[in-house]
Amino acid sequence: MIEVNEIQKKFGRKKVLKGVSFTAEKGEITCVIGINGVGKTTILNAIMNLTPLNGGQILVNGETINKHSYEKITFIPDAIIMQPSMTIAEAMEFMADFYDSWNQERATELLDFFKLQESEKINHLSKGNRAKVNLLLGLALDVDYLLMDEPFSGIDIFSREQIADVFTSHLVEDRGVLITTHEINDIEHLIDKAVLLDNGKVLKQFDSEEVRETEGKSIVDVMREVYQP
């Protein structure tokens, strides 16, 4: 389980996170929702120890993140995080070299799934295809948790559909997925738990299935209530 406990973060004098707490479990898709600049990416960066916190604590499977954690949890940001001069094959080779959890079989399957050519250079790819390469490099790791930052941001509709298909496939089965987005339409039906952020705080967190069954509301309905009371 990923436990985010009362985390606080300041940029200069501006408090971006003011005691945010939530959990994300294995086998569930948890979505952190909020407008741009609310601190969604900062939360993911903090989970991966890519930015220091001013308070609070984050635990992954009961431990603070360390070098071994990166075989258990991976982060797929919205920008490509490989050298653009690499080909997809070279990027995969790099991952295979460094990660024991790299699953070459799944990587090959993902290449087919996304219809990508190994010989293509990353800097020659469209934004949609770069996002797919990012996903490929993350999903091909045998990790317990996947963090995804705005996976649909600035991507054409066909690539969106293809990426959304990933969430219903066996590729994320049994893993915990923590996703941030401000465009929820594509994946609303897939989300197990939603965390609504505003002004550095968690406004509401709920089990989407439960809300759907007991109150007959979708996540977007709840968002309307919370953000436009």
Binding site: M48, T51, K67, I81, P84
Partner: protein, 276 residues
Amino acid sequence: MNRFVKLLNFELSRFMKIYLVLIALTIIVQVVGVIVTANSYMAEANKMIYEEGLSQAQFIQQYRSMSFLRFARSLWFMGPIAVCAAALLFYIFMIWYRDWFGKNTFIYRLLMLPTARINVYLAKAASIVLMVLGLVSVQLIILPLENSVLKWLVPIDFRSDMTVEQVVGWDYLSILIPQTFTEFILYYGAGFMAVSVLFTAILFERSFKWKGILLGIGFVAISGVIMLSPLLATVFMDHYYLYPLETLGLEVVLGLLVTAVSLWMGHYLLTKKITV
């Protein structure tokens, strides 16, 4: 393979194209330079002897004989060395900043590798040191070649021959190419210390942004003052009690201390303070 070695191999391969250009530049410019220097000397000799009527002895007395040092003091020889030094100095900064800026943010990947983050730091530092050693090795290999070209182009009567050992013992070349193992450890140890101090200063900037620039400059300044303190003491103290060998020993200890603090601080910043 050990992840540090993989990272080192990766860092070296990232700079390889530019590095090979630097090596080619050094070889081409220096070899052309020795030909140009030798030919212009002989042209001057021919002009003075055949047109101005100077004897060979008078010419040599007036213009001195041609030695390798005449070439080694020229821009043909020192220029490529200066370009390589400037390129590597620039790359000390680029090796970090290229991972943050531009089309990609490769630093995400480097910091999420399942290895101690200090390995990223050490691999970058080691790659700089290895690249310096590589360029020095190339220089050592082409020195005998250049010496032979010089001998081939200038008749023996006009030459003061030098062995390669004599050439590398001259002036600044003796720092680039140490004469003994102890000198090697001292000079390249000092080089590694300088790289680690600069790396840590860069990480201060990457961790604390504007405040980090001041912290980085402060860190470099304090390290400099610590290293210069024995020399400053000889200037400012009325009674300086250390013999030169003891001063050298003190410098070595201080150098080790500064390197250790730089590495520890770099490790701390990378694990606790760095922001992507």
